[in-house]
Symmetry: C2
Subunit: 362 residues, 2 copies
């Protein structure tokens, strides 16, 4: 469908924009959205950009029943010289297709959808906030739309893409947060869906998140489901440990999401000649490093927060305070560099950003 024309219906009256100081995460949406449909006969078809508004579904729609639903998320930024940059969208769309495969959802044409992303962002470009720490979050998702209670893959789907001007993900801002090491609940297991961005991977974590919050922690550190010793992810981010001047992150072993920010952090570290290893790391090893004074920095990496420094790890009775609860030098440098590249303030030696060309405007 590479050359399919996207039908565009523009909104008559634009919505009021929120104050950039008060942006939360994904509560306000832009003026338009992108939708296309899938059927077995037509494949993905009827792509259109329409005014943002409710969708109407039969109560027997299968997504409500069996969560055949995947999503992804990435961001657009406006540069000081008024260009629009999107951070590594090709990687997110590739991952979206991997998620589709895991849930038996038909794949999308990544090149076509990238065109749709650019067109939608272009049309709603006055929704890109420019205040420090803000961006326009792009959320594509796909839902099963067959009206059926049969536990089988749907034959019809909707691809929907919405835009939300967002502020910092954590209300704490870019300050180190406390994390609870979860030893009862599990996020994912080999053979499950942990490596895919399925809707069903997220709400099962709420219970552990509530437990963490009750103890005053911002997030959960997930251990492997089998031995409860190998570190997997933190909240909905990948996690990195700086121990004795080396950086370690768990490998992509089938239970961990392949984060685009994770990938970018690894590439940056290699570019800077900082030793970085994708390898198994146990909570016991982290604790030992802490006891020996070698645990220098811990941080999460994900699209929403970019880099989230971790100031304290709570593992049972053990309270590991990291870098005196201050943002570490490497965490800060990674954050500044990533944000710098994303917003066009720094050079982009990796060609990570994709520009929304001006001639797109219709």
């Amino acid at each position: 469908m590479r050359n399919t024309k996207i039908n565009i219906e523009r909104r008559k009256n634009k919505k009021t924009k929120p104050a950039p100081e008060n942006l939360g995460f994904g509560t306000v949406y832009s003026d338009h959205m992108f939708i296309m449909d899938y059927s077995t006969e037509k494949g993905w078809h009827s792509p259109k950009i329409t005014p943002y508004g409710p969708i109407s579904l039969d109560p027997g729609t299968s997504v409500f029943q069996y969560a055949q639903s995947v999503f992804d998320g990435f961001k657009a930024y406006r540069t000081e010289d008024n260009r629009i940059l999107i951070f590594r969208p090709e990687e997110n769309l590739k991952r979206l297709n991997a998620s589709c495969d895991r849930l038996c959802i038909p794949s999308i044409d990544e090149e076509f959808v990238l065109k749709a992303v650019k067109q939608l962002v272009d049309i709603d470009q006055d929704w890109i906030p420019t205040l420090k720490g803000t961006s326009l979050y792009i959320r594509p998702y796909i839902i099963a739309t067959d009206v059926s209670l049969s536990v089988t893959p749907s034959k019809t789907y909707k691809f929907i893409m919405i835009l939300s001007p967002v502020g910092a993900y954590y209300s704490e801002g870019f300050n180190p947060v406390g994390i609870n090491v979860e030893e009862t609940y599990a996020r994912a297991v080999k053979g499950g869906t942990g490596a895919a961005k399925t809707a069903g991977n997220y709400s099962p974590g709420y219970k552990a998140q509530e437990k963490a919050s009750e103890k005053g922690n911002a997030q959960v550190l997930w251990l492997d489901a089998i031995e409860k010793k190998y570190i997997e992810e933190v909240g909905s981010m990948n996690v990195f440990f700086k121990i004795n001047n080396e950086v370690i992150t768990p490998p992509l072993n089938g239970t961990i999401l392949s984060g685009i920010t994770r990938m970018s952090v690894i590439e940056l570290l290699k570019y800077w000649n900082v030793p970085v290893y994708e390898r198994d790391i146990t909570i016991e090893e982290v604790h030992q490093a802490y006891v020996n004074g070698g645990l220098e920095e811990v941080f999460g990496a994900g699209t929403a927060a970019v880099i989230a420094p971790i100031g304290q790890l709570n593992w049972g009775d053990q309270e590991m305070v990291i870098n005196n609860k201050q943002t570490g030098g490497l965490s800060q440098k990674l954050f500044d560099t990533l944000i710098g590249i994303q917003t066009g303030k720094l050079e982009d030696p990796f060609n990570w950003t994709v520009e929304v060309e001006k001639e797109l405007t219709l």
Copy 2:
């Protein structure tokens, strides 16, 4: 909310009913549905029965993103003397609340919802099919309705209950089916959501189901995620093995759904003095019993199919043909007894069925 009045808006023109011979599973819905809403301030409120029709949701609604969604399912039958019986609805509503708890969804008032079930079934009672093997399937479900991309429990929800006249779940009817023993994909792990009826537990099984279908099997037999040796469930049913005159079913260890049909089968077997054990059983033990000639019957048990006899288990290269691919005596007796009680043809010594009283009619 026990005494809250359910607002009723009746449909003006009734829909055309499908021929009872051609009922599938959950593709046709009755004339009305039940809906109520939840907010932090009001709790569950505004219960109503309205004409069955589409619901309208903001595309940023959190259920689409993070699958905070649970459901349950049970059936209503019309007896030959024109009464309406519902099979063990209290158990399903109790389980629905357990599912809610796992996903941080506010609990429902089971007694009130049972009242709503009766009222809805009463209003749409001409949708209860009477042909052998048919019933009116009742599907209550709850979805998170906050418009937010934040990975946190919603503050608002919708409880929806729909009714679907259904035929036999398997197109094969009550005939033994082939089952593929799945050794790669996992359904659930300790600490996950396997014991709850969450939407997100179902679509992750599609991939293994596709694999099974390609090999000509109707369903998947799930093994434990950790050692891939202990038997868990079959497709979306619990599973029973009759070996040397004893019946064995895996225990409720946190990864297996607590099936109401499972519970009823166990109670019936005890009532009949058939030895029945809830205990760990490995696929190797089943295979050994097969080799020794002791594997007499295998069957699934669940609301949709009631009892599903299994004629062949395919485990890697091993093809275990069970009871010459014929329905076993115990499977048949359980099916006949359960259906007999459900349809009021047999006595109900356990008080399992709940009658929809005539005076409900408004």
